[in-house]
C-alpha cells in the first residue's frame, strides 16, 4: 500500500504554485515590488492580491508596505516558513512521481 504524503493545500493550487515558485527564485532576503511581481507572472492585480492574501494568512509570504520617496510601494517576499513549505511540497511531489524504495520512504515519514 503506497502512502500518499499530504500536499499542502495552500500551495497545491494552480495560481499560488506559480506565485510561490516565482518568489522562491528570488535570493533569500530580497523583496519584489507588487507591480513587478504582477508583470513577471502575467496576473491581474486583483487575482494576484487574492492569492497573496491567502499565502500571507498561512504565514508563507511577508507583505511590507513602504514608501520610496513619496510613492507608496508594496514589497513581497517568501517567508522562511514559506520557503520551507515550498521545498517540502516540491520534495513531496517528486517523491510521488518517482517512488523511492520502502526503506527510504520510512525514513522520510
Amino acid at each position: 500500500m503506497i502512502q500518499v504524503p499530504e500536499l499542502d493545500p495552500v500551495i497545491h493550487a494552480q495560481a499560488r504554485l506559480r506565485v510561490v515558485a516565482a518568489l522562491s527564485a528570488l535570493t533569500s532576503g530580497d523583496r519584489i515590488a507588487f507591480p513587478r511581481l504582477q508583470e513577471v507572472l502575467g496576473m491581474t492585480a486583483g487575482n494576484l492580491s487574492v492569492h497573496l492574501r491567502k499565502l500571507e494568512d498561512a504565514g508563507y509570504v511577508e507583505v511590507t508596505k513602504t514608501h520610496h520617496g513619496r510613492t507608496p510601494a508594496t514589497l513581497v517576499q517568501l517567508s522562511q516558513r514559506g520557503r520551507g513549505a515550498f521545498e517540502q511540497y516540491t520534495a513531496a511531489v517528486q517523491a510521488l512521481l518517482n517512488p523511492a524504495p520502502p526503506s527510504i520512504r520510512e525514513e522520510r515519514r
Binding site: L7, Q14, A21, L23, G29, R31, A45, G46, N47
Partner: protein, 225 residues
Amino acid sequence: MTEHFGDRDSTPPAAGHDAPPADLAESMRLIAAGRAAAARRLQPDPRLIFWPWAFSWIISFGLYFLHYGPGGRVFVDLPGWVPGATLAATLVGAGVVAGLAGARAYRHVFGNSSIRGAMYGWTWLLGYLAMGVILGRITPDLPAPEAGLLWAAAAVGVTGLLHAAGGAIWLDRNLFALGAWITVTNLAGVLAGPGWHSLVTAVAGGGGLLVAGLLAWRRWRAVTA
C-alpha cells in the same frame, strides 16, 4: 508606481486558478513555469553583461597590438591616439549596455541582492580609482612602452581579481574561473613584454569573456526555456 494591493475587490478571482493542479506532472510544470518566468524577467541576459566587454577588449587591445607591436614594430600605421580612444569609447559603451541590462532586470527588487550588487559596483570604482591615482603618480617617470604595459596590466589585473571575487560572492564557479583565467593570462602577457601583452589581452582575455558569456547564456536559457 501605482498601489495595487488594496484594490483586490476590483477584479473577481478566477475560480479556476484556485483549483489544484490536474495532476502531479502539472504541479512540476507550474513550478518550472513560475521559476522560468522569474529567471527570465529578474536575471539579465548574460550575453548583454559579458559580451560588450569582450568586444571592447578584442577590438581595442587588437588595435594596440597592431600599432604598438612587440619591439616597437608597427603592423598597421594608425594615428597614435586611435587605440586609446577606441578603448575609452568601447569601455563606456560596454558600461552603458551592461548597466542598462542589469538595471532593467533588477529594478523594483530590493534587499540583500541590491546591497551586494551596489557594494560590488563601488568596489570596481574604488579599484580603478586607486589604480589611476597610483599609476598616474608613477608612470610619467617610465619609458612609454613600460608605462603603457603597466597601465594595461594593472587594469586587466583589477578586472581579473574582481571577477574572481564575484565568483566568491555569488558562488559562481564560471565567474571565478574567468577571473583566474584573466589573471593568469595577464601575467603571461606581462612576462612576454609590451606589445605581446596587448595580443594576449585581446585574444585570451577578450576570448575568455566571450566564452564566459556563452556558458552563462546557455545556463540562463536552460532555466528560462
